[in-house]
């Protein structure tokens, strides 16, 4: 029988360190991918994800089983991402490009357009203020509900809604300004 998250947490609290590996296996993909979209590159995403799991283990006694384990795990992870981003200096940080594996259904042209779109959106969300990027990723990439985002961020429903509103506005403005830049440098008659 598959152990529930809380059963595993209790086993860890009773001293079975290795039981924690089951929770890592269960949630590593969600944690690592959230960190990746927040940080923009694999190296920092791995550092933050590892640290997040270590912190979760060390504070398991504080885990409140009223919330899903993944909600708590994402809370620890996004807090660490925001801390790391605050400490990050103005130096250029690489943004890793990640594209879907070709499934053979798209024509080369469709594939090219999709990759360009993914690059454009990934670059644009990295330009947003961290606190806005966080909300966009949780809602639109991780597909979480308002309630889950409230639980993760500790913010009220009004703030969650307002921040999502502002985040989308900023994303739109960033994309429009890129489009204008592109048009400015486009060769006339070669649209």
């Amino acid at each position: 029988m598959i152990a529930s998250d809380i059963e595993i947490v209790n086993r860890c609290l009773a001293g079975d360190v290795n039981a924690f590996e089951v929770l890592i296996e269960r949630y590593k993909k969600a944690i690592y991918n959230t960190a990746f979209r927040m940080m923009g590159n694999r190296e920092e995403a791995e550092d933050v994800s590892q640290e997040a799991f270590i912190r979760m283990y060390n504070s398991l006694s504080k885990y409140n089983p009223e919330y899903k384990f993944i909600t708590w795990a994402l809370k620890v992870t996004t807090n660490l991402c925001l801390d790391s981003l605050r400490k990050r200096k103005a130096e250029t940080v690489p943004i890793d490009e990640v594209f879907e594996i070709k499934d053979g259904k798209d024509t080369p042209e469709e594939e090219y357009i999709r990759k360009e779109n993914q690059k454009l959106v990934q670059d644009a969300i990295m330009k947003l203020l961290d606190k806005y990027r966080e909300f966009l990723i949780l809602f639109h990439h991780r597909n979480l509900s308002y309630q889950e985002i409230m639980d993760i961020t500790g913010e009220s429903l009004t703030i969650v809604k307002n921040r999502l509103y502002r985040a989308r506005q900023m994303l739109k403005e960033e994309l429009i300004s890129r489009e204008k830049e592109r048009e400015k440098y486009a060769v006339p008659g070669n649209k």
Partner: protein, 75 residues
């Protein structure tokens, strides 16, 4: 309807919290207003892309490295 009001409805659209009537209002407004129509398409394309950004594989050996970190800090 004013562009500003349509913008609020557009945000409701992306919240997934919009009525059929409100959706119709956006369509009707956008048929007459090129600017709003263009902005709506830019945002819809971006949100669709964001929702479909691929999941990446977690690096090999990730669990072991976390477990080593936990054990070394306990020591």
């Amino acid at each position: 309807m004013q562009c500003q009001e349509i913008n609020s409805l557009v945000m409701k659209y992306f919240d997934g919290n919009i009525s059929e009537l409100e959706r119709e209002m956006i369509i009707r407004h956008n048929e007459k207003c090129n600017r709003c129509a263009e902005e709506f398409e830019i945002l819809r394309n971006a949100i669709d892309t964001l929702e479909e950004l691929p999941e990446i594989e977690v690096p090999a050996g990730f669990e072991s490295r976390v477990m080593e970190g936990i054990i070394s800090r306990r020591a």
